[in-house]
């Protein structure tokens, strides 16, 4: 067994476990990765999990209980590099849709009534960077295989990962799709971070924004365009908010002319 293996831990907070599952699904490539890395902790895949120090921690899911917050803080302490993987860890996920704490509390009560939870104290869902320093972000719902392997390979070689700094539209053009906006279909491609390969548009369906907001998007122009096409500002905001978690507020604040 080669020495100096990079010690990796994969952790799941509240979410759908889709990012961990996707990693599990990269078996062919993982066999190569095992030559350079040792998976020291991965609860979904193994029962002999180490609690020792790590070189890289990949964290999936939002922080949704006090216990998870404590776990996250411990992971941060033992890991040299912490990577947020997936929409829930990066943006808070669909469960962070209720931005107002009062509204969240009301909805929590609506589901669980007055039963006081004895095993875990619920917290309003937040992305992990609300509590700890995050070194890199891998967005996606779930993360993309190529982007994940690309990021991991760079980290294993000691280089900082580079993410795709372009919107879904770029990947869509590579696939030579007709632009759905030209057909008056509300597509979020221009506002959404790339990495999925424009999979929905390849299937004749509009982008639903599941990779979360693309930071450098020309929001002002996109808004003007969508409104010109007759979509209601409410619906645009609602659709954009679905997968943007807590980051929607900041994202929208940077769109001039946002009617809301």
């Amino acid at each position: 067994m080669p020495k100096n293996l990079v010690r990796i831990g994969i952790f799941e907070l509240t979410g759908c476990a889709g990012d961990a599952l996707l990693i599990l699904d990269c078996e062919d490539e993982l066999i190569n990765i095992f030559r350079a890395a040792s998976i020291d902790a991965f609860l979904m895949a193994k029962s002999d999990n180490s609690e020792g120090p790590l070189d890289v921690a990949l964290v999936e899911g939002s922080v949704s209980t006090e216990k998870e917050l404590h776990e996250l803080q411990q992971i941060r302490e033992k890991a040299k590099v912490l990577v947020a993987i997936g929409g829930c860890a990066c943006h808070g996920g669909i469960q962070s849709n209720f931005l107002d704490p009062e509204v969240w509390r009301e909805n929590l009560k609506n589901v669980y009534g007055d039963v006081k939870m004895v095993h875990a104290v619920p917290l309003q869902a937040k992305p992990i960077d609300a509590f700890v320093k995050v070194d890199y972000y891998l967005p996606g719902c779930p993360i993309g295989r190529e982007q994940f392997l690309f990021t991991l390979a760079r980290m294993l070689n000691g280089s900082p990962p580079e993410l795709f700094r372009f919107p879904v539209c770029m990947e869509c053009k590579w696939h030579e799709n007709d632009c759905l906006l030209n057909k008056n279909i509300l597509c979020l491609g221009p506002l959404t971070a790339a990495g999925c390969g424009a999979v929905c548009i390849n299937h004749n369906l509009p982008c639903v924004g599941c990779w979360g907001p693309y930071e450098e998007a020309n929001r002002t122009a996109e808004y003007a365009l969508l409104i010109e096409k007759g979509f209601s500002p409410d619906l645009i905001r609602q659709k954009m908010a679905n997968f943007s978690g807590v980051k929607i507020a900041e994202f929208l604040s940077r769109a001039k002319g946002d009617p809301a």
Partner: protein
């Protein structure tokens, strides 16, 4: 008192835990915890369009993503009266079979098999079961490929939409899937043999009720507009609440379900129990060969049932493709209605999944989602309790943890959609006080003293009840007073607490309090209570009953109540009147 904690159950989909509390030689309580935080999915879809709902809800769970999508689409199409054609129906079945193959092969080989072969994980297992691990990987990849073809990507694909598919798969890909399925045939038969012949322990075994979707035309399958139960009951899926009767427990963000007050199980084992006779072809041959009465009461056999369903799926995939490949393409059927109500049910790999919606003015106004693991939670706890108690009685306490782990894993729980894993704890001293106080706050309590006078400490229940009566402590009865008084027990709105001596291997005078719902299969307790049930009590009354036991020093004939037990009696009285 002691606790076994399986805080994180490794090798399950997501993050769950079980806490078992041991007091002497009695398991007083088992709790299946859902450590994942609340996600409030049913609330956050309110106000969304039906299309957005169908985008959002599969995010409940990555491994059941296709089932969630499918159930939501079925519900929406019912609510909005969208009718799809035969090709779309068959393509959906194919997509769902892909998920079944992927999820079952992952569970049986990677998550369950290491338990029976003594390896910590599938990678370590590869040294001895290299061939199985390799083929399992290929099976799983094949399932993924089907899902990717139909859903657009393997996790959270958006191609299935209300009214059809964004893009229909091409003929060449379908032909490839069909021929690839056939290549697996010999190995799938070996898989069924391997998992049906595994040495499944007979702890825990207990009867339960099984439920699943009733597929149309008397066929085996994974969708239906009716629910069928192993006792013969049938329900329209719109009446799903009669099955699930959801309630909340304070130790989990996963809601609970009971049918007519009884826990029930869903999943592959439930389907084989309810529908096994409908299997055809090779799956039928294997069913006839391996199905036996143990399959009706041992949850560990769920793994064998999943293997059988792998065979069913591999036989069904080529049939589905043959039926659909020459059908004309069907464009997406647009919904024209803006209003309606509908419930969609599908069998997720781990059991029945319900999505129910109400649409008002084109937006979701009501949403209810009931996941298989939520329905299984009660039986997971019950079987863990039985396992822990039985193993404790054989004196192998150190084996409890592993066995509970095995039980939980056999249910293949998907803790994202419900729940985290196992903990065994010793009940701290005086825990009974906290529990008793909780009971006092929950409503009307009826106390019943059991036992017999004149047998030293065996009379403690009766003496305690008499003392309580004189102190005017409410609704207190002696066992003997209940003879011929069915009126006392009519209406089961009260909580019953039995008071009695209980030998649980602790120091004399030690007190424990436990729920009978969970502990009734404890051999000491059942020996005490069985003669009363049916004669004095409707068994249903025990659903909300507790047992306050005091460890006797001696139960020999003619003796007096011993000093430590008398002290315990004073302690209970003090606490009661507190």
């Amino acid at each position: 008192m002691k606790t076994i904690v399986l805080d994180h159950i490794a090798r399950i989909e997501g993050n769950g835990g079980v806490v078992a509390t041991i007091d002497g030689n009695i398991v007083t309580d088992v709790k299946f915890l859902v450590n994942e935080g609340p996600r409030l999915i049913e609330r956050l879809v309110i106000g969304k369009t039906p299309e957005e709902d169908v985008n959002l809800v599969p995010r409940i769970c990555a491994i059941c993503t296709v089932s969630h999508k499918y159930a939501a689409i079925r519900a929406m199409e019912k609510a909005l009266e969208v009718k799809v054609g035969p090709k779309v129906k068959l393509l959906r079945e194919l997509m769902h079979l892909g998920e079944m193959v992927e999820s079952h092969s992952l569970h049986v080989f990677y998550l369950a098999l290491p338990d029976y072969t003594g390896f910590p994980n599938a990678i370590a297992m590869a040294s001895k079961f290299g061939f199985e691990v390799r083929i399992a990987l290929e099976m799983k990849e094949f399932g993924n490929r089907i899902m990717k073809t139909l859903a657009g990507r393997y996790i959270h694909g958006e191609n299935p939409v209300i009214g059809g598919f964004g893009k229909l798969p091409d003929r060449k890909e379908l032909a490839w899937i069909k021929s690839r399925a056939a290549q697996f045939a010999p190995f799938v038969h070996t898989t069924v043999k391997l998992f049906c012949e595994l040495d499944y322990p007979d702890i825990p075994e207990a009867e339960t009720l099984y439920a699943c979707c009733n597929p149309p035309d008397n066929k085996y399958g994974f969708v239906g507009d009716e629910i069928i139960l192993s006792n013969g009951d049938r329900l329209d899926v719109e009446d799903y609440k009669k099955l699930t009767g959801e309630f909340i427990v304070s130790h989990s963000f996963c809601k609970r379900s009971r049918y007519k007050g009884k826990p029930y199980s869903v999943g592959a084992l439930a389907r084989v129990n309810c529908l096994g006779e409908r299997l055809e072809g090779g799956a039928r041959t294997m069913y006839k060969k391996y199905f036996n009465p143990r399959w009706t009461r041992n949850p560990l056999l769920n793994t064998a049932a999943q293997a059988l369903e792998l065979l069913y799926s591999f036989e069904r995939i080529p049939q589905v493709i043959s039926q659909l490949i020459d059908l004309p393409d069907e464009p997406v059927v647009a919904a024209t209605k803006q209003k309606g109500k509908g419930t969609g049910a599908v069998e997720a790999p781990r059991g029945t999944l319900f999505h129910s919606y109400e649409i008002t003015k084109g937006r979701v106004s009501q949403a209810d989602i009931i996941t298989p693991t939520a329905q299984n939670a009660e039986d997971i706890e019950r079987y863990c309790h039985i396992a822990a108690q039985k193993i404790l009685e054989t004196g192998q306490e150190e084996g409890i943890r592993d066995r509970m782990d095995l039980v939980i894993r056999s249910f293949d729980p998907c803790v994202s959609c419900s729940v985290h894993a196992v903990q065994v704890r010793t009940a701290p001293d005086g825990e009974w006080k906290t529990k008793l106080r909780e009971l006092q706050t929950t409503g009307r309590l009826m106390l019943v003293g059991l036992g017999s006078d004149g047998h030293s400490d065996d009379g403690v229940g009766l003496s305690l009840a008499r003392r309580m009566k004189t102190s005017g402590a409410g609704d207190v009865w002696l066992e003997t007073e209940l003879e011929g008084r069915p009126d006392v027990m009519s209406g089961h709105d009260q909580t019953i607490v039995f008071l009695d001596a209980l030998d649980f291997g602790a120091a004399p005078g030690k007190i424990t309090l436990l729920s009978l719902q969970q502990a009734a299969w404890n051999s000491v307790l059942s020996h005490k209570l069985l003669p009363l049930v049916g004669r004095l009590f409707d068994p249903a009354a025990l659903n909300n009953a507790f047992f306050l036991g005091i460890q006797p020093k001696s139960v020999s004939e003619g003796g007096k109540i011993s000093e430590p037990v008398a002290g315990a009696m004073e302690e209970v009285l003090k606490e009661w009147t507190h």
